[in-house]
């Protein structure tokens, strides 16, 4: 069976290349509320509660929470090598940009299609932020 492959344009925020299995969250994410050793989401009421974001291509609307906790949260994940491989968001905010910049995780927005329609959890996604291209394989 032939794989479906879609290539979409996007807007680079933090450059680089990352690929992996997609994990889609319709809710904003606070990295401080994940287990820094494993990357498992600890926020009990979150739709990703119990899911692991380590080495995934994370698709989510935006970040949340204060700069201190958000940056510290993603930094700890990256130090333990369980940060996402790339991040695709709908709305950017300064704190998320700073967080991604510090841990050097590619971050893009403005996908030419709604990312929540184009990407499903489990798809294989390649994010080439430098070229502004996202490739989805399923």
């Amino acid at each position: 069976m032939k794989n479906l492959e879609i290539t979409l344009k996007c807007h680079k925020i933090i450059g680089g290349y990352g690929e992996g299995e997609a994990l889609v969250s319709h809710e904003p994410i606070c990295f401080y509320l994940t287990d820094p050793k494993t990357g498992i989401v600890r926020e009990r009421t979150h739709e990703l509660a119990g899911k692991n974001l380590a080495n995934k291509v994370l698709v989510f609307p935006s970040g949340k929470a204060s700069s201190v906790v958000q940056i510290d949260g993603l930094f700890k994940l990256a130090s333990n090598k369980v940060a996402p491989k790339a991040m695709i968001v709908k709305d950017v905010e300064t704190v998320l940009i700073v967080s991604a910049f510090i841990v050097k995780v590619p971050l893009v927005d403005k996908l030419e299609r709604d990312p929540f329609e184009a990407i499903r959890t489990g798809d294989f996604v390649r994010v080439d932020s430098e070229k502004g291209i996202v490739t989805i394989t399923r």
Binding site: H11, L74, K76, I97, V98, F101, I102
Partner: protein
Amino acid sequence: MNLTREEERILKGEFGEGTQRALELLVAIGEAYDAEKMVPVTRAHAASSGQEGDLYFVELLANGGAFCRIPTTTNPVYDLDYFDSLFEIPKGEAEVARRVMEAYRRLGAILSWSCTPYMTENIPLYGETVAFSESSATPYVNSVIGARTNREAAQSALASGVVGKTPKYGLHIRENRKGTVLVRVNATLKDEFDCTLLGYYVGKRIGYGIPVLTGMSRPPNTEELINFCAMSNTSGAISMFYIPGCTVEATTVEEAFQGDAPGDRIEVTDNELEEIYEELQTTSGRIDFVMLGCPHYTFNQVEKVAGLLNGKKVHDGVSFWVCTSATTKALAQRSGYVDIIEAAGGHVVVDTCIDEPCWTMYKGKVGMTDSPKCAYYRRFKEAIVSRLQDCTEAAVKGRWE
């Protein structure tokens, strides 16, 4: 983004790696928001903290030879010397704090270690373009002073301090400073604590936006404005607000909305404030400690604490903390207020924030505070949040019902 020749040279590393990294971050933010160019900033406040994510970036800049080009103040970490004599801070945590503070010193920052630098150490002018992070600082300088800043992260504010620039987006553009929600205040506002609750409610209700408050029975004082800022930007993301007739940028409601109709309208009465007050309490009865000064207490507030504790004794089972800036403590010391608080068994501590790893001994304890923000970021188990005079009364009795 259109960059100047100097900015291009910084990005090539001609001014050192630290400054290059700082500008790279600012360019990334500018690109994300489609900013056309960088604009000069003349002051910055970096919401430093004794945590690893912060340490990494500060050392990256300091080790790369960066130096602050403009006055750049720092947020509280904690007073290691003061705490050393009182209790043990885990070695690893103390080391992170020491390195953070040392790196900011090497960067040539003004080591205020205060979350209210706009009171004393770093005061913008009306219309000044600045980069201020920290929950109370961002809305205070935008609204009360009328300077212009975005809701910065500690790192982006520090990067601006080093480069002397910020991308032109968001609240640096007049049209974006337009009010979004009309808030009709029908609550009594009998004291400072009611303004604290009002801030917490407004932030929680609106989330993200620029509220325009009308109908207040009286203009808030300085401390009330500080608390309104800190609380609304903790329970929500309020970078700016208007109280026409009090804050400086608009004298009328129409002006605050730049001639447009309000996108939304809400009303706040005593009922809402009562509800939010109830919601903040997680327990009652015996307390282990009282924590005041989130945000850092002003001179007036320290004076008030001294007045309330004069001749009294804090209960044996209770520790009593007032967090403030080094400047304020020095002045309060001169006036004898620190002696009064210490004679009652309390501590006046500088450079320190409740949201720091130094308070690990309170992890399973019951704390009382006049600050919902302190309770929100709490590093302790149970919280009672009430007015200052309730906190001092409970400190003496050892309990609050």
